[in-house]
């Protein structure tokens, strides 16, 4: 069912979409255009004049080992966050789907992390895991773990993966729970009477029936991990130590704003934009498909 409202003429509809178009132009089209312009120019060391350099910025990026390392790191980060967040959401949804006492409270609590701003989420984890005064740091130290994510790159990457996943679990939980609840009860009951139990029942019934949800979430989570985790990483580690937690979006910021390599940063932005467009097309495929059914 689709509801449509029709406005007469052309002036009124144009007027109504104008604010949104203005916002899009001001905050997206204009910066995108600037990024594109900057990506084909080079500014001299004093920032005094810029000259056209064609695709040289792109060539330099693709030839650079650090950029390739960043791309690989981003891939690893996206895979880890997506896998953890989806697995977490699925497991919690499977449990929440059962008839348990206090189910409403349990569900509300699970959804809560999604409502927390990324920077706040980071602060919470800093409270817990800060190398000197974190609440859990002492426990880890006693367990013999030299916990210091400010020094150890591996730990830092682990931490931003964990926090990134933690924040997204709630989103996946909601979708998986909705998916599970749209599976007719009698199907599960029929499978049970056929002798299916536990893991087998999950693998042969629930999992295949959740496949559309999984595909949809796969795209959404990848987009999230690649682009929406900037604030979170920036607040936690700022991309460091070194480049240990520097994903592609973080590198754009560091190269452009901190290191003032505007051309290189702009070229990275253009690459990211191309990626977003590709992922958005994918997302609309699945999201659109879901809405139509």
């Amino acid at each position: 069912m689709e509801r449509r409202t029709l406005f007469p003429g052309r002036a009124l509809p144009a007027f109504l979409v104008l604010p949104q178009l203005a916002i899009t132009a001001l905050f997206f089209l204009f910066p995108a255009w600037r990024a594109f312009v900057e990506s084909v120019r080079a500014v001299n060391g004093f920032g005094l004049n810029a000259r056209f350099v064609g695709l040289a910025n792109f060539a330099a990026l693709l030839g650079s080992g650090t950029y390739r390392a960043t791309v690989l790191r981003t891939l690893l980060y996206c895979t880890a966050v997506t896998a953890l967040a989806m697995a977490g959401g699925l497991v919690l949804a499977v449990f929440a789907d059962r008839e348990i006492k206090g189910r409403a409270i349990y569900r509300a609590l699970l959804i809560l992390p999604y409502a927390i701003a990324p920077a706040i989420a980071s602060v919470i984890f800093v409270f817990l895991l800060q190398p000197e005064i974190g609440l859990l740091t002492g426990v880890l130290k006693q367990a013999g773990i030299d916990w210091n994510y400010v020094l150890h790159g591996g730990q830092a990457l682990g931490l931003v993966i964990l926090v990134g996943a933690w924040k997204q679990v709630a989103y996946n939980f909601i979708f998986y729970l909705a998916g599970l609840q749209s599976i007719p009860r009698t199907l599960i009951e029929a499978a049970a009477l056929d002798g299916a139990r536990g893991w087998y029942r999950f693998r042969t019934m629930l999992w295949p029936l959740l496949l559309p949800t999984t595909l949809f979430l796969l795209v959404v989570n990848t987009v999230y991990a690649a682009f929406d985790t900037f604030a979170l990483i920036f607040a936690l580690t700022g991309g460091g130590p070194g480049t240990a937690t520097e994903t592609m979006v973080v590198k754009v910021y560091r190269d452009g704003i901190i290191n003032l390599d505007l051309g290189g940063s702009a070229a990275q932005s253009v690459i990211l934009m191309a990626l977003i467009v590709a992922l958005t097309v994918l997302q609309f495929r699945y999201a659109g498909g879901r809405e139509r059914t």
Partner: protein, 372 residues
């Protein structure tokens, strides 16, 4: 194949009690049909047997083994659901082999059994299709096939025909009966359609608000309903009930409508003056040519082709229906039609309890009992 024993099975959901202690025993290979109005607890009873709900009290025994607390997956019971519950992501073959694969049967044996069941149900050409590519009737057969390949101890059917059109329903009904006889699997079948119940059942269980009203063969339920509920529920059009009281040593019913109707079978073991309901089916009451002391004012005439249904009222305003063979002829709405009630077709019920009042059996005659 197995015997099923239900002992005092009760079920409550929070404050509402849905089943009040059901006792029922199914012999090996027997087909028992549970019939009752919507909401009387039929599905709940079936789900208790399947293990999809756990009872508040009572036991379920299969072949003498107590399975009350056994997980449904270990009960070896197959169920055909009202909406069929076919696995949408599997082919017909996949649906049918699912339960067999779980039992670890060799591939060849699985294929043989699925093919055999498919042949029995005419599903051969459909094995590669998905459920959504099937018609309602075909889906129903796949659901049956999925149940029979497993060769379970017990079949449960929860209104398996209610989603089919009337013509198909008659055909599939006969198919189910034939199949059940041939396989000899003990079956418990739930329906609210009394024709289905009468034609399928070895024995019929009439349920009323979570209680068993009567368990008997279909013929017995029809001929000797245990109470007014069963009498009114089984038989279409429904039985007429005329209020009155017993007189002359329980051999005569003095109706409020005025007539004194002689009863068969001699005296009943309740005192004269007991308030009763005298029941008679519309097809058993006869129009009379001369006044009988009982007359019906005809209000509506429904010609049904080979027969005619007359609706009207008696002198005391009790509604009364009468079914006569052939066309209405000279009958017209508004006339007063004398009615004759043949004694051997009468049913006497206690007006207070609704229970059937029979005369005690004469020596030599078979004992009658409405209720087991």
């Amino acid at each position: 194949m197995a015997r099923l024993d239900l002992r005092g099975l009760a079920k409550s959901f929070a404050a509402t009690t849905v089943l009040h202690g059901i006792d029922l025993a199914l012999a090996d290979g027997e087909m028992v049909v549970i019939v009752g109005a919507s909401g009387c607890g039929k599905s709940t009873l079936l789900r208790l047997v399947a293990g999809l709900e756990s009872p508040t009290a009572g036991r379920v025994l299969l072949d003498g083994t107590d399975i009350t607390d056994t997980d449904p997956s270990r009960r070896d019971i197959a169920m055909v659901f009202q909406n069929y519950a076919l696995y949408p992501h599997m082919t017909v073959f996949g649906n049918m082999e699912y339960g067999l694969k779980l039992r670890g049967l060799p591939r060849a044996e699985i294929a043989r059994r699925v093919d055999e069941a498919a042949a029995l149900l005419g599903l051969g050409p459909l094995l590669d299709r998905r459920p959504r590519q099937l018609s309602g009737g075909q889906r129903q057969r796949v659901a049956m096939g999925r149940a029979i390949v497993r060769n379970p101890k017990l079949f449960l059917f929860d209104e398996p025909l209610s989603n089919l059109d009337a013509r198909l329903r008659v055909q599939v009904r006969a198919d189910i009966r034939r199949l059940q006889r041939r396989l000899g699997v003990t079956s418990l079948y739930v329906t609210h359609d009394q024709t289905e119940a009468m034609t399928l059942a070895d024995r019929l269980v009439v349920m009323h608000e979570g209680r068993v009203a009567q368990i008997a063969s279909p013929v017995e339920v029809f001929d000797r309903p245990a109470d007014t509920y069963v009498a009114g529920f089984i038989g279409d059009p429904a039985m007429n009930f005329c209020p009155g009281q017993l007189a002359e040593g329980g051999t005569v019913a003095a109706l409020v409508a005025g007539a004194r109707i002689p009863l068969p079978e001699g005296r009943r073991a309740v005192p004269d003056g007991t308030r009763i309901l005298l029941g008679i089916r519309p097809q058993h009451a006869l129009p009379a040519a001369t006044p009988t002391g009982l007359a019906m004012t005809v209000e509506l005439i429904e010609p049904l082709g080979s027969e005619t249904l007359l609706h009207g009222r008696l002198a005391d305003d009790t509604s009364f229906a009468l079914r006569i063979a052939g066309p209405p002829g000279p009958l017209a709405e508004g006339i007063a039609l004398p009615v004759h009630l043949p004694p051997e077709q009468l049913h006497v019920f206690d007006a207070a309890t609704g229970l059937r009042l029979d005369a005690p059996p004469r020596s030599g005659a078979a004992p009658v009992s409405g209720q087991h």
